[in-house]
């Protein structure tokens, strides 16, 4: 083989082309680019959650009492929140299907319901902090449960605000087709947040009772 020569690379007048004008401009799910961005950040945040949970169990091994000289966290609000976010999967799912059908009215309705669920989750979360029965600076146990809870709260709150902004957009427009991808991905991110609440809930509320 000889080294390539620039001259041979000149395009001929009539060329083979791959016409992509027929390809869709709006796609949902992992075929689209947005999904990969969302997924990328979900992986990063998921890694942080995993590490925080690992830290929880690592710290558990350092001491004999768990929680150390503190009562167990109260179950009520955490469980209530678990129920709330699990229920909220339903509006999230419907909003997602509606978005993928470009059903603006449906998106508006179910996004509103999702936002309401989200706000409820944030409000309940405020009570959860009191139910922890400790401060973040009491000891390492307090530090890690506050961190876990706060990390998740930040995610919930961010996504609630995010949903509110999207809801505003859905109400005011312009609603391009790509915007519906945003509505759809928003639900995906909400799944992610809900999914993480399960292990975090188990860790914060049940582990002290089991370990």
């Amino acid at each position: 083989m000889t080294p390539p020569d620039a001259a041979t690379m000149r395009p001929p007048d009539t060329r083979r082309v791959l016409d992509v004008s027929v390809l869709p401009r709006t796609v949902f799910g992992h075929q689209g680019l947005i999904w990969w961005g969302t997924a990328g950040f979900m992986v990063i945040e998921g890694s942080i959650f995993v590490i925080a949970l690992v830290v929880y169990f690592y710290l558990r091994l350092q001491v004999t009492d768990w929680p150390p000289s503190l009562p167990n966290p109260g179950l009520f609000y955490g469980t209530l929140n678990l129920a709330t976010v699990l229920l909220s999967l339903l509006p999230a799912y419907i909003a997602k299907t509606k978005a993928e059908k470009f059903d603006l009215a449906g998106v508006r309705l179910w996004l509103t319901i999702l936002v309401l669920f989200g706000v409820a989750a944030v409000v309940i979360r405020a009570f959860e902090y009191f139910a922890l029965n400790c401060r973040w600076d009491d000891n390492a146990y307090g530090s890690i449960v506050w961190t876990l809870l706060s990390m998740h709260t930040i995610h919930v709150a961010t996504d609630v605000v995010d949903s509110m902004v999207l809801l505003t957009l859905a109400l005011t427009g312009p609603n391009t087709k790509t915007r519906f991808v945003d509505y759809s991905e928003n639900s995906l991110y909400w799944y992610f947040i809900v999914a993480w609440w399960v292990p975090i809930y188990v860790t914060i509320y049940l582990m002290p009772r089991w370990l």
Partner: protein, 557 residues
Amino acid sequence: MRPARDYASTRFSPLDQITPQNVRQLAVKSTFSTGVLHGHEAAPIVVHNTMYIVTPWPNYVYALDLSKDGAPVKWKYEPKPLSAAQGVACCDVVNRGVVYADGAIFLNTLDNRTIALDATSGKEKWVTKLGDVNKGETITMAPLVVKDKVLVGNSGGELGVRGWLTALDSRTGTIAWRAYSTGPDKDVLIGPRFKPFYASDRGGDLGIHTWPADAWRNGGGTVWGWISYDPQLNLVYYGTSNPGPWNHEQRPGDNKWTAGVFARDADTGEAVWFYQMSPHDLWDYDGVNEPVLADLAIGGRTRKVMMRADRNGYVYVIDRTNGEVLSADPFVPITSTKGIDLKSGRPIENEELEPALGKVMRNVCPASPGGKDWQPTAYSTHTGLYYIPSNNLCMDYEGVEANYIAGTPFVGANVRMYAGPGGNRGEFIAWDPVARKKVWSIKENFPVWSGVAVTVSDVAFYGTMDGWFKAVNAKTGEELWKSKVGSGIVGQPVTYKGPDGKQYVAILAGVGGWSGAIVAGGLDPRDATAALGFVNAMPDLPQATTSGGMLYIFGLP
């Protein structure tokens, strides 16, 4: 005569006018303000129709004439102790009482003087200086006069003081002998008569060898509690306080002769036996609690015993002739030890909790003030019950490096205390020493930091830190009567027959002491380690009471 009424320290009064039936009629007969704000832990004593009370620093002594209406002051004595002494008194500037003997009142001042006063005039008879404030020494205990000797011990186990018990000639004040609690045998007055019951207490110069080199010089073992005397055996019994510093890693070994009880010959001071409740004490479980002497039927025969509700949470019944432990049973929740091995006499340590430098050990029960601190118990021969004013406190404890600088605290621990299981911080317990079990008890919100008095008519008196003075049925524990006084009670109730032949009950109110430090010292509860951690357990005390010393005399109408 003596704060503890008798040489056996039973605080058991033969007066019987106040009965469970009429106790409800008790009413204040007289009051008297001492003008001092700190913790009033002293017992008023009544001799020849005169009541003598001693206040905390500045250690005023008042003689009140009970024969006159309103009990006016007969004389007042101001010893003017050094101001600096306040700075080295570990747990409030208390004084636990004066003692009367042979026409004299014997007083210990915070700045280490023992003073003999003429009981009628209040004139000084002699003054002997026994210790040095600059080294951290103070005296808070009530002296005891045995025959012609005044027995005095020092305080300051938290300041690296070397503990001692000193006998003074009651007429001249000259030092007859001094028995140290640490160091070589000749300092401890250990001689050929010394026959401890357990093997670990036998050997030469254990007061040196069970310490790291030189550590015995500032190893604590002070004698700031109560002394009992058995005239038949001619032995005095007293406990020695915690070894210093609290941080145990700085003092490997058994740390003889701290946190234990000595039996000594009353005349020569020679040690006869010793038993160590907390060898290598990990948690500041002083051994100063009063030995209550009684003759109990145990195992089918009457034994001369000494009962102690110890700081470490066990009620010991010890054969007082030889120091053998007959039984030791927990009277409060205990996690720090797993029981007492009666064979070796040693507690079985909970190794999981052994404090390590820079690690917080959690849920150590009882906390440093112990199941019962200095507050004296009472024993009623009538009911056969042993009345224990107890604390229900646990703590988190972290050993830190302690630094010995003479005259400054030598502790080496960060402690924060909190209520033990159940949430009540105190309990008034009636204990059957023969059956070795709790008979009844009254849960109190605050630690029961006052002493107890019990009468032959089965009324027991005690006070609470939120200012209630209570009378309970000594048999059943039924609360019979209570009266709110001006300040939290950390003193010792006494009952006496007045010049009018009626029975009276007197108590000094005035919150303070270690437990009341948050009020007496104006401490800040935001710091969990304030007052060696006690403040953390008592953040609500300032809402419950304020400081101020006041004498209350109650009587039947």
